[in-house]
């Protein structure tokens, strides 16, 4: 028995070492791509390498074009598929709400929306060592609505909160739903988000996240457009083949049996030797993929959340997301090559490679914008907007009012979030939550 346990643990260690090696290899490849794209931009200033820019530009266009085709073909495939899964039939749902220093009014609104939502549910709130004096009001709300409330004596992180709830607080539920403490859910959101989990092979589902403060200012309108595109174009396309790469922390559902199996490795996740603190939503999604389950997007399950309304706040959030994205993309690559080749291809070629490979294009656009603003605004900008419209054509048909925000965000993302991606690559080992 001891021998068997020992050999199992040794096999696990070997597997872990192998996975880390794969991650390090791909991490190095990203720097090589970055270097190549910089060379492609700067070297043509010398005569012998004129051809390099041409090749680089050609490869970039082909990859970008093929990605657009890929997304639209997936969307089309999703549209012609029959949406069939058994309806929710009163199964028990455990709802976990981790919270840390949340505004009391917002937390109350969040919990009340869950209480009022349809479905047979138990609600668990884990306070992750808040220091804003929310204990009293949280206990009071808990008592009033029959919510299980647990307080950590110190801040341990969102992963620890979810882990504790799954391990110690939830009952024998079939589905587990995680909801952010600043999110208000629609009345039907719970029963709709767990619906696809009844289908064999599906273990994760993510809801449609909308902004509570979308009309607050220009930035929030831009973010609103960005969210729409990210969910209704990209995530919806991924969902057509059960390959959603991130179940939003704001509203996600997991098959209880699948989540319980991985909850220990979830809380112990390390990235290059350091314990992970953020991007728990992406990691949970990846753990479902690792078990060979499908993960889907449910546009009918709607939740409303707050987005940062200042540029600084938004950039800080994006910085964390981008680090998490690189970390989790590398993690996904370490297993997807074996069990999900399409996911591997998508993450490596389009999601991970492109932001770094396109750095030369980014420098080119910056150079033109600075050296020849007239050309930039008259030729390149309309061209970029056209490409943006093409990539987000579903918005033209389904959400035209989102288009202005989406256009503005496209331009903004070329110059700002692209640079953030590169910064995130260099600082990916930084584990700060930043906004906390």
């Amino acid at each position: 028995m001891f021998m068997q346990t020992h050999s199992l643990s040794s096999a696990k260690k070997t597997h872990h070492r192998h996975a880390v090696r794969i991650q390090k290899t791909f991490y190095t490849i990203l720097f090589l791509l970055l270097g190549f794209s910089l060379l492609a931009f700067f070297l043509p200033l010398w005569e012998p390498s004129l051809r390099l820019w041409e090749y680089y530009y050609g490869i970039y266009l082909i990859i970008a074009l093929s990605y657009t085709w890929y997304i639209f073909l997936l969307l089309f495939y999703g549209d012609i598929q029959k949406k069939s899964h058994p309806n929710y039939a009163g199964e028990k749902i455990s709802v976990i709400v981790p919270c840390y220093n949340e505004a009391p009014k917002l937390l109350q609104a969040c919990l009340e929306s869950i209480v009022n939502a349809e479905g047979e549910k138990e609600i668990i709130v884990v306070d992750d060592g808040s220091t804003n004096g929310i204990h009293k009001s949280l206990s009071r709300i808990g008592k009033k609505h029959g919510i299980i409330v647990h307080f950590f004596d110190r801040n341990k992180g969102k992963r620890a909160a979810i882990h504790y709830a799954v391990r110690n607080l939830i009952g024998r539920s079939k589905y587990i739903v995680t909801i952010d403490s600043d999110t208000i859910i629609d009345k039907h959101a719970l029963v709709r988000v767990v619906g696809p989990l009844k289908k064999k092979g599906v273990a994760g589902a993510s809801g449609d996240i909308r902004l509570l403060n979308e009309k607050q200012n220009l930035l929030t309108r831009m973010i609103g457009g960005y969210y729409w595109s990210a969910l209704h174009v990209h995530r919806k396309a991924e969902s057509a083949v059960g390959m959603v790469t991130c179940c939003s922390g704001a509203l996600s559902a997991y098959r209880s049996s699948a989540l319980r199996k991985v909850i220990s490795s979830f809380v112990r996740q390390e990235f290059f030797g350091k314990r992970c603190t953020h991007s728990e939503d992406r990691h949970l999604t990846n753990l479902m993929h690792k078990q060979n389950y499908k993960v889907v997007f449910v546009p009918e399950a709607i939740a409303y959340t707050h987005s940062p309304s200042t540029l600084r706040g938004f950039l800080t959030q994006q910085q964390r997301w981008r680090r998490g994205f690189i970390q989790e993309a590398l993690f996904a690559l370490s297993f997807a090559w074996k069990n999900k080749p399409l996911l591997f291809f998508q993450i490596f070629v389009w999601d991970l490679m492109m932001p770094f490979f396109s750095l030369g294009i980014f420098f080119f656009l910056i150079t033109v914008a600075v050296s020849n603003p007239l050309r930039f605004f008259v030729i390149l900008l309309p061209w970029l907007l056209f490409v943006s419209l093409l990539k987000n054509l579903p918005a033209f048909f389904e959400a035209r009012r989102k288009l202005p925000g989406l256009f503005l965000f496209s331009i903004f993302s070329i110059f700002v979030t692209q640079a953030q991606g590169v910064y995130a690559l260099f600082t990916v080992k930084n584990k700060n939550w930043i906004t906390r």
């Binding site: 004129l50 074009l65 085709w69 549209d79 012609i80 054509l393």
Partner: protein, 150 residues
């Protein structure tokens, strides 16, 4: 699938297909004349009599066609003038260029070529003084052929 959705997909794929064709076409070939540095790098090009001698033997009709073709070439070259590679590199920051292989004798020379027709004024604004060798060569050829025809 509903009719509205079908229209949506037809529009989407048509737009995407057109965009793809346009992008690929702009990547692999086009109608713009080759970059004029070819002229600089090809010493034999200045020998315009050698350039047209084979056609001259076929008679007046053919000669008219040659003149017509060369006139069109000259008009195209009117605004595309000779630049040094250094000038072209500077220019490439301001206009879209692509690399094109041009056969000169047995040699293949890679040259930068604008993706669209560039005006002389645009070029001069970006890189200063330029020399319109190709245009001048065509002018000389046409002049000589005109004499033959008359």
């Amino acid at each position: 699938m509903k009719f509205k959705k079908r229209i949506q997909w037809a529009t989407t794929f048509s737009a995407l297909a057109l965009f793809t064709v346009h992008t690929v076409a702009s990547l692999y070939g086009g109608t713009t004349s080759a970059y004029a540095s070819v002229i600089r790098s090809d010493r034999s090009f200045g020998n315009h009599e050698g350039f047209v001698v084979a056609d001259l033997e076929s008679g007046g009709h053919l000669l008219s066609r040659v003149i017509g073709r060369l006139t069109r070439e000259r008009d195209q070259a009117r605004e595309l003038c000779g630049l040094t590679r250094e000038q072209m590199t500077i220019l490439s920051l301001n206009i879209d260029v692509r690399l094109k292989d041009v056969m000169i004798g047995n040699r293949t020379i890679p040259v930068l070529e604008p993706r669209r027709v560039v005006t002389k004024r645009e070029v001069e604004a970006a890189v200063g003084g330029i020399e319109c060798r190709k245009f001048e060569v065509y002018e000389q050829i046409l002049l000589l052929l005109g004499v033959h025809l008359s």
